[in-house]
Symmetry: C2
Subunit: 279 residues, 2 copies
């Protein structure tokens, strides 16, 4: 999975030169869109999905939202799934509004307003199973999926996620049980889990608690995770694990040399080969 | 604090009639902006801040972001603080991007792009203190504040937030200790806590764990919380608690009769009087 976390100050030069529009926000947003589309063209053939990080677009205001829509459309045309990475979570009516925004539509007196049209989105479990339930229900209505944070890839995951519970096990294990229970019956569940690739010692236990769950595995590359350590994620087959990389692909030419696009393509192909060797 | 959770299907009629623009998204967004501005004019004088729920605007796409900007500007002109309610949380670079989006600016080769210009925003602690630290640092640079979810107002708060830890206490108590530790020195901390008004039995304990923290207290009115039960929140003075209400104000005329604006103003004034009687 190709992470799209565009930093307007570090875009591919050729894409940045195609910026249009009036004023910094429109110019930066059009450059960001061009950069992401070029990246999709280069690395997309080695991927099944793109994962735009929503804040990177939101910080450019309304033009950023237009750029995000253009990137989503480009990814879909390229045959890729789109996972909107915003880690949302909120009470009932607000959770439903996030579903409308990301995967659904909004009824208004002026006609229906389409959302982003993502195929899935990430969600934060802190507020409880009722908040996840609303997100999952809204996603199902749109034939979309949800990936719930279980054990993340950052060092601070130890602060709360790893806490030992009085009843036994850790918080993330309790969340994993909830993710397993919330998923629909079937060979693979429709509720996925975000499982940091930087703590591979936990992946086998996660697979035990969530046997039918698709794992989204961020943290490969720039964050230090290694795909070779993730074999248990692929126990249910190749579709059981989605390895996500972002900075290691977009800036691959800094290590590999060559053009940014060529290096990104090679890096993504290598990552695919490494992941599929496990599945 | 006035919650702004506009549902395009339930806007004040007079505001909806002022909709402009082309197509459903622009028309709905302009109607939402008119509605929120009317609500601010009616109930704002009884409030210190507005709390726009971001998903309600995001679901209208780029026009929704323009509407949100207009509402923020209107609230500031009315002398109100703006708390962007998105419950964000993510790893380092992504957390920094949320700060740029909500309270900061983004450097681009085309010039700086301003963010929403909020005075504070809500954050989700699940991923750990390092993710909160980045959000708090970004907020400080913008002279803004952060309110961290501690114990929320929904029934599912019992699922994870209330879990008993092996080391003693609950998860939310551990988060509360972290919120207290992350705040800057001073009479009142610059890191606030979201503390559901629907579980008043916990408020005294929260005040014990977070003596200098400003409590944002949602859940009054439509969610069943009563302001009279929240006295410990105001122990450090009136500024120690921010009581938030949304649906009970915007739809006050359904119970009170009269015009929507008049009923909203009366309802907000009563809530202020009840809260200040405690402070």
């Amino acid at each position: 999975m190709l992470g799209l976390d565009p930093d307007p100050a570090r875009l591919w030069a050729e894409a940045a030169s195609r910026a249009g529009g009036n004023g910094p926000a429109e110019q930066a947003a059009s450059a960001v869109a061009a950069h992401c589309c070029d990246l999709i063209d280069a690395a997309g053939p080695a991927c099944v999905a793109v994962k735009p990080q929503l804040a990177c677009f939101e910080r450019l205001g309304a033009p950023g939202r237009i750029a995000l829509g253009a990137v989503v459309a480009h990814a879909k045309t390229a045959g890729l799934l789109v996972l909107a990475d915003g880690k949302r979570g909120d009470i009932d009516v607000s959770a439903a509004a996030y579903c409308q925004s990301l995967v659904g539509t909004t009824a208004t007196p002026f006609g229906d307003v389409g959302g982003l049209g993502a195929d899935a989105f990430t969600a934060n479990p802190y507020m409880g199973a009722d908040t996840l339930g609303v997100l999952i229900e809204g996603a199902r209505e749109a034939a979309a999926g949800v990936f719930v944070l279980v054990r993340t890839s950052n060092p601070g995951a130890a602060d709360f996620e790893d806490l030992e519970l009085a009843a036994g096990g850790t918080l993330w294990e309790r969340v994993a049980e909830s993710v397993d229970a919330l998923g629909a019956a079937g060979e693979l569940s429709d509720v996925g889990a975000v499982v940091g690739a930087t703590a591979p010692q936990h992946v086998a236990r996660m697979r035990e608690l969530m046997p039918r769950t698709i794992f989204l595995l961020p943290g490969i590359g720039a964050q230090g995770g290694r795909v070779e350590d993730l074999a248990p994620a692929f126990a249910p087959g190749r579709a059981g694990g989605l390895v996500s990389a972002s900075r290691s692909i977009v800036f691959a030419s800094e290590e590999r040399g060559g053009s940014a696009a060529e290096a990104a393509r090679e890096q993504a192909e290598e990552l695919r080969a490494a992941a599929w060797a496990l599945g």
